[in-house]
Amino acid sequence: MNDPVSPEPSQAIKPSLWALVWTFNQIALASFGGGLSAWSREVIVVERHWMDEEEFLSASTMCRILPGANQVNLAVFVGAKFQGIPGAIAAVFGLTLIPVLIVLLLAVLYFQFHHLPSLQKILHGAAAAAVALTLAMVVKTGKKCLHGPIPILLFLATFILNGVLRWPLLLVLAIVGPLSLIWAWPRPGTK
């Protein structure tokens, strides 16, 4: 699958539905324990040459902003780019089939045995690490975008309304969303 030279990667290669299923399955399995987005880039850009770096970045940004899990969205994007709607379905199917089966197995085991004290202790520890993973994401993405008082205010408003006061998400988005767009709208004469 590794083409040594491909000057026009996205035009030159048109993977089949089966290749989409197989490739996204490979990405899902490689990501055991996280790093799904890093693996997506590794396989799609470096290994398969399906997209170049810039196209992949732009697609990733779009997939992050739009609703839905980022990596599922990316599978939709890549699949649709090559094979339309069937391609999107094939890529999502490849990405999720084995993870869904594994999670289902874990669900059966968990709800069978969750009353066991030792399992509760293990999950208590694992949950602390899962919260940490979420906090680390706040720190990493926050460092990139929370520069200046207005973005910090938008961040705090969202956090307090949705997290502390538990207002419904739709209401929070209806309030903070338009304010965010007004703030970020490009103005002539400024960068």
Partner: protein, 174 residues
């Protein structure tokens, strides 16, 4: 039947609201599935969150676990499809004209403007999950240490989760 409909509507609508990824709708998912529908307890929610983070694939598969508890295997599959299809349809439609919108102000405003909002939603998720699982200083300390590891090193998260689980098993968290 009523539960199936609730699963379909809840996860289908959360799918469309999950701006910035699945973690941003966890507070709302928690509110509905724990407090409103009472499909699972507070602790179970935190547990399935931990499981979905450690398992391979997208972490939005937490809905598979919740759907399973609410309505068995069929509930699990229904929840999974409901959370994927609506957002996937939006991505498909937008991907048709995204490349042509490279310099449009709306694309710029969305890319820049929604970033702080998304971080706020993820912070809300960490806050709510932390509150439902952590009740004394030892688990706060463990979370703080793990956060440091995730921020400053490139350790595989699965290893950190496993070590944290071991710490819990050994009774270090009380």
């Amino acid at each position: 039947m009523k539960t199936w409909l609730q699963i379909l509507i809840l996860f289908g609508s959360l799918s469309l609201l999950s701006i910035g990824g699945g973690n941003s709708v966890l507070p709302e998912m928690h509110q509905r599935s724990v407090n409103d529908y009472q499909w699972l307890t507070d602790t179970q929610f935190a547990d399935v969150f931990a499981i979905s983070q450690a398992a391979p694939g997208p972490s939005i598969l937490i809905v598979t676990l919740i759907g399973y508890k609410a309505a068995g295997i069929f509930g699990a599959l229904l929840a999974t499809v409901a959370v994927i299809v609506p957002a996937g349809a939006v991505v498909y439609l937008v991907s048709r004209f995204w490349e042509h919108a490279a310099r449009s102000p709306i694309r710029h405003a969305i890319e820049k403007g929604f970033a702080p909002l998304t971080v706020g939603l993820v912070a809300a998720t960490a806050f709510i999950l932390g509150r439902s699982t952590e009740h004394d200083w030892r688990s706060y300390l463990l979370t703080a240490v793990c956060t440091g590891v995730f921020v400053f090193t490139k350790t595989n998260p699965l290893i950190v989760v496993a070590i944290a689980g071991l710490a819990g098993f050994l009774g270090w968290l009380g």
